[in-house]
């Protein structure tokens, strides 16, 4: 080869560059997820990660066998939780494996750090998997772009910053990787890749409940291909291998168990499996029975079978043989369902329908590249592209129904945006249709040129990515300019620009005069100028994208939520560490078997940080138990006391934001507690009683009697007016403080520095058998 650099051929250079770029993308992906560690510390975030962290520690300390059979007596007191059978063990096993491997080679890393940095590490793997997916559906350019996008897309970062030790952290990698393997196995018709898909799917099942998305999307893909008359042996081999191995493997996870055989969520896959056998048989029969209209017949058979199968499914579901869809799935179809029937699902903010700005917030420019990507998919429409289209449509729907499902939308948006962007790059960075430039590069194979061009542009993008301080558009602008100049040197006679993607480009390009009077230089100018303008715009957008992503990551997604930060009046950085203060107090000052009652949000943190028994936690598997806790909070002091005693509660913990203006406190969540309690105890708790005569949710002296007497109100405002003085003001509700809050059956045990967490002790029964009201009066 001619253009050897360092003894490498052009193809080798390209692959070297690709590896280097992927490496850089991985670094960026990891790096941008470390804000939280730099700003705060290496700490586990939020709520669910605390459970994962706690179970991982248990796994590391006690080994897999004990972990598998672990019954947690300290959760859901006194019901307990069969931990081994009710979790997705993937993330714990992954961390424990990494931990043990590192210890095997004498790297004494702390398990906490393994957990904290697991999600960023896996985000690098996600970028690589996305590259392969992009490469599978288009080419390396699209792959690299997609990898670069997913590396920093806030929609994914929101769930994978350092410390966000949650299932999604590894599940998105597995999701993308499974889809990549699936597409490859469909393309190759390879049983090997089908089996690999199944194994990857098994890992996914072990890691996240979102595996249901895979087990519905892949059959849908197969079904769509069948309906399109695209049955092939490749498809048959891929799907049969995947389904059989994948389903059998998935049933090894105790939490999943026999669900694939009887729940609605898994029926589509089973039906499709049956269908493809029939179709395979039909096509086999077709070779024996020559018939011209077989194809039409086949389609009819497919559709009628589908109808029969579906109606059979409906019948079986209604007769109760097949478990109906769970509430969470219903709420995917009917967004109002949860609010009416399952307040516990509706009460979670991440289960709310997505607001439109969220899409831009989480995906920035990718969201409008998505339709372009779908368009390009339609224009090619291979088997793979059918998959991309289906994935994007369904994920987009789910993402608009539930905020947190933006997460599953993000990979496909990145891939399709990568495809669209690759088209743009290939069109506008292709200098071969510029005179002379084409001649110069004639010897290089067209693919390589396209690839290297794309790579160059990506280097630009990546270099911009890493150096956001640079004035955004300048670098892209400059480099594009250089290339323009370089091309200018080789100026020669003009050639009519004949773009391969003429359809796409001609609309944006100004009409180039074909008159022979134009000088060659002018012709070159006409050929280059539009490319220059378009690329400048896109470079600018890419830079803005990266800037946006970094900004979102650092401001919105890097707060651990166990530690809060705020700015003092002089702009200084204040750390508010009340949660850990309270949990640590519990850990050090209460007896080890003490039972702490709190709203379920804090259950995992209490278990993880305070190491105390909780009544309810974020697992939310038992609605009645949660409703009981809601009832305790919503009842008057005596009822609450009786219930608390009945449940052996020793301490009650409430989160109170009125001092700081922390709006996520329990008084703001209180209406949900009331609603959930009302769902189970409609006679004892009534939501309307908690609004005052003006119908407002008031907390001050004009609050409704039920509100004022409720335990939650009392525990929150007890003695708060004293510390705030006469002019006390609730900084969250913007209301005056209630003046006389009495408390007899509970006594204040601890209140944190900023009054964010208040802990009360449930008094023991009076020694003389009096009520505590009577005892306190004397």
């Amino acid at each position: 080869m001619v253009n050897k650099v360092l003894g490498l051929t052009a193809a080798d250079q390209a692959s070297l560059l690709r590896i280097a770029i992927l490496g850089l993308i991985s670094l960026v992906a990891i790096g941008s997820r470390l804000y939280s560690v730099i700003r705060f510390e290496s700490v586990i975030h939020e709520f669910d990660p605390w459970f994962n962290y706690r179970t991982t520690r248990y796994l590391v300390d006690h080994g897999f066998d004990k972990f598998w059979n672990w019954f947690d007596e300290t959760a859901w007191y006194p019901l307990g939780r069969v931990v081994g059978g009710t979790l997705y063990p993937g993330i714990m096993v992954t961390s424990a494996t990494i931990y043990n491997a590192l210890h095997l080679i004498n790297i004494p890393v702390d398990i906490r750090n393994v957990c904290v940095f697991l999600a960023p590490a896996f985000s690098a793997l996600t970028a690589i998997a996305t590259y392969h997916l992009g490469k599978e559906v288009k080419n390396a350019t699209a792959g690299l772009l997609a990898a670069a996008f997913i590396g920093v897309a806030p929609g994914y970062i929101s769930r994978s910053v350092a410390g966000s030790y949650d299932n999604e952290g590894i599940a998105i990698f597995l999701l993308v990787f499974t889809f990549f393997l699936w597409l490859r196995s469909v393309r190759l018709g390879s049983a090997l890749y089908g089996a690999l898909t199944a194994i990857s799917y098994f890992y996914m099942v072990s890691a996240w409940g979102g595996y249901v998305f895979i087990i519905n999307l892949i059959p849908l893909h197969v079904f769509a291909l069948l309906a399109m008359g695209r049955f092939s042996n490749r498809l048959y081999v891929a799907y049969s291998t995947f389904y059989v191995i994948g389903t059998l493997a998935s049933m090894q996870i105790p939490f999943v168990g026999f669900q694939p055989t009887f729940t609605s969520e898994h029926m589509a896959a089973l039906g499709t499996f049956g269908l493809i056998q029939l179709v395979a048989f039909a096509s086999f029969a077709r070779t024996l029975v020559p018939e011209n209209h077989f194809r039409t017949l086949l389609r009819g058979a497919v559709v009628s079978l589908f109808v029969v199968g579906l109606s059979g499914l409906v019948l079986l579901t209604m007769s109760g043989v097949i478990a109906p869809w769970t509430g969470r799935f219903y709420s995917l179809w009917d967004t109002g369902y949860a609010k009416i029937h399952i307040p516990i699902i509706a009460s979670v903010s991440e289960h709310q329908p997505t607001a439109w700005p969220n899409f831009f917030f989480d995906l920035n420019m990718l969201i409008w590249l998505l339709p372009a990507g779908i368009y390009f998919s339609f224009s090619e429409l291979s088997d793979n592209h059918v998959f991309l289209i289906l994935y994007s449509i369904f994920a987009a729907y789910f993402a608009s129904v539930m905020v947190r499902l933006i997460l599953t939308l993000t990979p496909i948006v990145c891939v399709l945006a990568g495809v669209a962007m690759a088209h743009v790059f290939e069109t506008y960075l292709n200098l071969r249709d510029v005179p002379a430039a084409a001649q110069l590069k004639a010897k290089a194979t067209p693919d390589v040129v396209a690839a290297t061009d794309a790579v160059k542009s990506l280097v630009d993008a990546v270099s911009d990515d890493t150096a956001i301080e640079d004035t955004d558009s300048a670098s892209g602008h400059k480099k594009d300019g250089k290339r323009g100049k370089g091309a200018k040197k080789n100026a020669a006679k003009a050639v009519e620009p004949t773009s391969a993607d003429g359809a796409a480009t001609s609309s944006t390009q100004p009409s180039v005069p074909t008159s022979k009077e134009l000088s060659p230089a002018l012709k070159r100018f006409y050929a280059l100028f539009p490319k220059f303008v378009v690329m400048t715009c896109f470079m600018f957008l890419l830079c803005m994208f990266q800037w946006h992503c970094s900004w979102i990551t650092s401001t919105a997604y890097s707060s651990p939520s166990v530690v809060l930060s705020s700015r003092g009046p002089d702009g200084s950085h204040l750390i508010i560490d009340d949660f850990r203060e309270a949990y640590y107090w519990l850990r050090k000052n209460t007896k080890p078997e003490a039972k702490v009652l709190s709203w379920w949000d804090y259950g995992y943190q209490l278990a993880g940080m305070a190491d105390r028994t909780t009544l309810v936690d974020n697992n939310t598997w038992n609605n009645t138990h949660i409703a009981t806790v809601g009832k305790i909070m919503a009842s008057d002091e005596d009822t609450a006391y009786e219930l608390a005693r009945h449940h052996d509660v020793d301490y009650v913990l409430v989160v109170f934001g009125a001092m700081l203006g922390y709006s996520g406190d329990d008084i703001n969540k209180f209406l949900w507690m009331v609603r959930i309690a009302q769902g189970v105890y409609p006679d004892d708790v009534k939501e309307e009683e908690f609004y005052n005569s003006q119908g407002q949710y008031a907390i001050s002296d004009d609050a409704s009697p039920a509100m004022k007497n409720s335990l939650m109100h009392k525990l929150s405002y007890y003695r708060f007016a004293d510390v705030m003085g006469g002019q006390g003001f609730d900084r969250v509700r913007k209301q005056k403080l209630p003046t006389s809050v009495t408390l007899d059956n509970f006594e204040e045990a601890y209140t944190t520095e900023n009054w964010m967490v208040r802990i009360y002790k449930v008094k023991d029964l009076d020694n003389l058998g009096r009520s505590h009201h009577a005892a306190s009066k004397f």
Partner: protein
């Protein structure tokens, strides 16, 4: 056992004659504070106090006006028991308040509180804390039928003769419930008590002709506020922490005059009351309890569902200076998770130490339900100390390898899968070794 108690009490009744010989001791200590109006007034109660000393108590007789008297110093009890024989003193000791007395009781101290028609406000408020409501100041208990008859009967019949109700047995000795027992003479104030209060035991009440009225008034509807059985004369109270308090509407009941009165049972009665209050009798305790797997005899960290276990508890009762086995047929075991899943009566079994403890035994099959259970023996009987033994025990589900294997109901499935596997192998074999037509196949286009 009841017989034993009776014998013991009967023997104690004569203990006055054996001063210094018998060394009975309370299980909760022997420091007794006796508050009298003046130190000299202690002579009025010498028989009662001597009987306490004779039983081994270390008595400190203090005047109620002595301001150095405190029940607790720095939160630590200075006495184990207190006997207040100065009902009319407005101030007691170092200005002791109701709160001080309640705190003393909360800390395990025992009290004998006496009253009179001129009961002070302090005593009245203190009694009200325990659900004992004394009649108004200036009233007295009057019984024109049953009263002590002096030779010249010109009195106002305020020295009434009363008999304890049958329910008072664990507190009083058995002789009191015999039909022809001597009456207890009482002169003082009546109180209202709540019969449904399980902590309060009425040990001396009025009879049908007994009523409470202001002294010197005529008995009519306007003046009688309390009468008959509802009229409490002496009540005792046992707190949750097993401290004991006695309320006697009459301080005179303890006086030498009435103790030595012929035909009175006051001596026996005061001895019984003081023995009970000062924790010398009817003190029940659990000396040990254990539960373990019936199969191995060991106590695991946690049980599994439907385990067969053994629960045992050892109970002793204190009387006559020593611990004796406590025999009963109503000791119950409960396994509770919010609600009791199991409630079983434990049977008496051979004890390891038959002289002092009785062992109760139960073969329990744990429920087929996992969770955190509380094993509880909650034994509360009138007059006896409360025994409430709780163990929090985890009942775990079966391990993944403890479920039954090879269910007979599933044999068709095992066979079908075996047949399937064999059939598949056979098909493969048939395919591989069957003669194929000699046509050259084009190699499959395949690349990985």
């Amino acid at each position: 056992m009841r017989f034993l108690t009776t014998v013991a009490v009967a023997s104690l009744a004569f203990s006055g004659a054996w001063l210094g010989v018998v060394e009975a001791k309370s299980v909760s200590g022997d420091r007794v504070l006796v508050l009298v109006p003046k130190v000299e007034a202690a002579k009025l109660y010498s028989q009662f106090l001597d009987s306490l000393t004779g039983r081994g108590f270390d008595i400190s007789v203090r005047a109620a006006t002595n301001t150095s008297v405190a029940l607790q110093v720095d939160g630590v009890r200075t006495y184990d028991h207190a006997v207040v024989l100065s009902p009319e003193s407005k101030k007691l000791g170092a200005n002791l308040s109701v709160r001080d007395f309640v705190s003393f009781v909360d800390d395990g101290g025992n009290l004998i509180l006496t009253a009179s028609s001129e009961l002070s406000e302090l005593g009245r408020k203190l009694a009200a804390r325990f659900g004992v409501e004394y009649e108004k100041r200036g009233t007295a208990v009057i019984d024109h039928v049953a009263h002590l008859r002096p030779i010249n009967d010109t009195s106002d019949h305020t020295l009434v003769a009363a008999s304890p109700p049958k329910t008072a047995v664990p507190v009083l000795s058995k002789q009191f419930v015999r039909p022809q027992s001597n009456p207890v003479y009482f002169k003082g104030i009546a109180h209202k008590y709540e019969p449904s209060n399980p902590m309060l035991i009425s040990v001396l009440t009025g009879s049908r002709a007994t009523y409470s009225a202001p002294i010197g008034s005529d008995a009519n509807e306007g003046t009688i506020s309390l009468s008959g059985k509802a009229l409490g004369l002496v009540s005792v109270f046992q707190t949750r922490n097993n401290a004991r308090v006695a309320f006697s509407g009459s301080a005179a009941l303890f006086s030498d005059a009435l103790l030595s009165q012929e035909g009175s049972a006051n001596k026996q009665f005061t001895t019984d009351i003081s023995q009970w209050v000062l924790q010398e009798k009817s003190v029940l305790r659990e000396t040990a309890h254990r539960h373990y797997l019936a199969s191995t005899g060991e106590r695991p960290e946690h049980y599994r569902i439907s385990n067969e276990i053994v629960y045992e508890i050892d109970l002793s009762v204190y009387h006559d200076d020593t611990w004796h086995p406590y025999n009963a047929k109503d000791v119950q075991f409960e396994a509770i998770m919010l609600d009791p899943y199991i409630r079983a009566t434990l049977n008496s079994t051979e004890s390891t130490d038959p002289k002092t403890t009785a062992t109760y035994h139960g073969d329990i099959k744990l429920p087929d339900r996992y969770g955190t259970f509380t094993f509880r023996v909650n034994y509360k009987r009138t007059g006896y100390s409360n025994v409430d033994v709780k163990d929090t025990v985890g009942i775990w589900p079966l391990r993944h390898d403890e479920y039954p294997r090879f269910l007979s109901a599933a044999y068709p499935y095992y066979i079908s899968s075996l047949v399937m596997a064999v059939g598949f192998l056979a098909l493969c074999a048939a395919w591989m070794w069957s003669a194929e037509p000699k046509t050259k196949r084009t190699p499959k286009q395949k690349s990985n």
